[in-house]
């Protein structure tokens, strides 16, 4: 057992830092550091992706032959931590982290040759079509229908919670091609050109007033069968692969540590309840200390998972445990941010941060009152309530773990 980074890993960290210092413009840095939610705005995310593409660093987790970096898991962890610390916006996960692995794992050679390079370059910006009105936690009950019509599937139905569908030119969908005994059977994984006739995207406005999610209506959309990933009717296998990737793909601790650093710095600049600086306020300091202690435990948990995975071991409960603990801590830290913001945390000032989509509520265009950190705090607090709901609610994750434990 060894908890410290090796000399090679430290050298890698320095290389990453040098790259970030050289390539991140002030504007990109601000777009990552001042996000009002966990989502970057598509414009900045694509600009940053173009820079990464030049360097070959868009998709660290992909196999080298498809454009991956060949980094170890430890190197990927270091990359993620340094990227967040530097304030770089995240690359949209829908393509590189979700659809990409599905195509790599289950796609045809033609699909790999066409889609993967365009995913890396950012020419294709992806969205997801999974959930439906009646199919959230119970995703397998999905009803969006695809009828067989020779070389094509004809898709009719509706999808919900599609992040950035309004900015996407391609979408990966789960559609029903057959109704069989088990709901998981008869589902097909399909890639749809969002410019196809019959596709309509309707904005969903969040409680923070932002249009990041969308509803997608599909009305007799003709999709060539060559866009089916895997076999027709075998979409659940592809989706499970992809969902596991979404759940296990991220390490939470690096981002949470940066969040706590930011909050502590801000708390050194504002007044606390007892007259001194907030950072010297005993109750606040205790809450920050507890969060740091919890993140330290999570970090080692993530290191252990990383070490297991490097050795080819994938304990089944880990992605769910990580998702629950990571999102719960993420949410608690937004509470600390809001507490630090004090009274200015009540003001609605999305213009002080960088929203990941159009803002639909009344707000000012230019400046803002109070500190920027305080203006962003309520946006983050409200937005990140979604973290315990998306990608499998935390209740569903606990059910999964209970089953794995044999309960």
């Amino acid at each position: 057992m060894e908890i410290a980074w090796s000399a090679d890993e430290i050298a890698f960290r320095d290389e990453v830092r040098a790259f970030l210092a050289e390539k991140l413009t002030d504007e990109l840095r601000a777009s990552g550091a001042h996000m009002t939610s966990v989502y970057a705005d598509p414009g900045h995310a694509r600009a940053w992706q173009a820079i990464l593409h030049e360097k070959g660093w868009v998709a660290p987790a992909w196999p080298v032959e498809h454009g991956g970096t060949g980094w170890s898991l430890a190197q990927r962890y270091i990359w993620q931590r340094e990227r967040i610390a530097a304030g770089a916006p995240p690359v949209s996960p829908m393509g590189v982290q979700m659809c990409g692995p599905a195509i790599i794992g289950h796609g045809s050679d033609a699909q790999k040759a066409f889609f993967l390079p365009r995913m890396l370059s950012g020419e294709h910006f992806w969205c997801q079509g999974y959930s439906e009105t009646g199919s959230g936690s119970d995703l397998a009950s999905l009803k969006c229908r695809a009828e067989d019509d020779g070389d094509h599937l004809v898709v009719t139905g509706q999808k919900l919670w599609s992040t950035h569908a309004h900015a996407a030119n391609w979408g990966f969908f789960l559609v029903r091609t057959a109704t069989l005994d088990r709901p998981q059977q008869g589902i097909t994984f399909l890639l749809i050109d969002m410019a196809s006739p019959g596709v309509t995207v309707v904005p969903t406005v969040s409680p923070a007033g932002e249009n990041i999610q969308n509803e997608i209506f599909l009305d007799a959309v003709r999709v060539p069968k060559s866009n089916v990933v895997g076999a027709i009717g075998d979409g659940w296998t592809v989706a499970k692969y992809l969902l596991e990737f979404e759940r296990g793909g991220a390490a939470y601790a690096p981002g949470l540590q940066i969040d706590l650093d930011e909050i502590e710095q801000f708390a050194g600049e504002v007044r606390g309840d007892d007259g001194g600086r907030l950072i010297d306020d005993a109750a606040f300091a205790d809450a920050i200390a507890q969060a740091r202690i919890d993140v330290l435990a999570l970090e080692v948990f993530e290191f252990r998972a990383m070490s297991d995975a490097s050795a080819g071991r994938y304990p089944h409960a880990i992605p769910s445990l990580m998702k629950i603990r990571g999102t719960e801590l993420q949410q608690r830290i937004t509470e600390l941010r809001l507490l630090a913001a004090g009274r200015y945390g009540m003001a609605y000032q999305p213009q002080a941060g960088v929203s990941a989509g159009p803002v639909h509520f009344p707000h000012a265009d230019g400046g803002f009152v109070g500190p920027r950190e305080a203006a962003i705090a309520p946006m983050r607090y409200v937005s990140e309530r979604a973290a315990s709901i998306y990608a499998g609610t935390n209740e569903i994750q606990r059910n999964i773990i209970a089953k794995i434990m044999g309960l």
Binding site: P207, R271, L339, G342, Y344, Y348, V382, I389
Partner: protein, 368 residues
Amino acid sequence: MDFSFTDDQRQLRDALRGYLERENSFSARTASARSASGWSESLWRGLADDLGILGVGVAETAGGAGGNAIDMMVASEELGANLLVEPFLETSVIGAAALGAAGGREAELAAIVSGDMRCAFAWAEAESRFDPAAPATAATRTAAGWRLDGRKAVVTAAPYATHLLVTARDGDEPALFLVGADAAGLSLRGYPMIDGRRAADAVFDAVSLPEAALLLRGEEATERLCDIATAMLGAEALGVMRVMLDDTISFTKERRQFGQPIAGFQVLQHRMVDMYMQLELATSAVYRAVLSLDAAPAERARAVSAMKVTVAGACRFVGQNAIQLHGGMGMTDEVRVSHYFRRATVIESEFGSADWHRRRFAALSRAA
């Protein structure tokens, strides 16, 4: 001991509930909040003319209903359940209490009853955190009366107020002044709040006021006013939480996944039981606070701070879980529960966070 409501109080509640359901439906309320002005003058006039509710706490000698704190609590809870954006708390609770305590203010109290006066309570400053007793805004004596200099932060309802109730320091003593929103030297910078109401930052630059602008003086008078405001905010929170719990119960009974209503899952049942428990305990804490408003200052302050800690915790628990149990729908502007959640979030820290009130409670307990 008796915790039942009088017939008059039940009638007040039913009349208010019926009127608000008709005149301020959720969509009407949201349209008002998002209009250019951010409020509805016709609703405000209706609350005065049709219901007479704006004078619920104003003495009968000044044309009000002469109601007590419990009447005001009943009204506040219903207005909370309706998610009212108009400044009832600022005007009919805080304004009426300040003018009533000042004495000899019949004309201004009558303007509250008639709906002609709308108040905003300018107590907080960027550097005051949650402490209302130590404003940096300075009141200086002049030949004609007073001069005010200073800045106030996030003054709720200021953009549509006719008057500001401003805390300022006269030497070592806090005092409260009534300032017309059109006073020379007063400038406001307005913006929305996360709960859909409006607020402003206010700058007082050599604002001259007549002698009569001084309403209250001294730490106890200021604290008492804040305690009344906090208690009624707590009552409002009960209405906000009641709707979130009711909506969550209805939603989980209707929403089907895995072939059954999700309300059938035990883990969700227990969550809703805990929400209910939090609401009942918050209600109890509000009753103690409201019934202590006329008690000795330390007892009153302890009851109010205890209430604010309990209510803030309940607002957080009930609000977060109402969103969670609504699933993705809870994360949309479309469902009303997400609006109630935002209001509950503002209530948590309005007039002091749980941490601030816990500390105040501890200090008062040590002194006792």
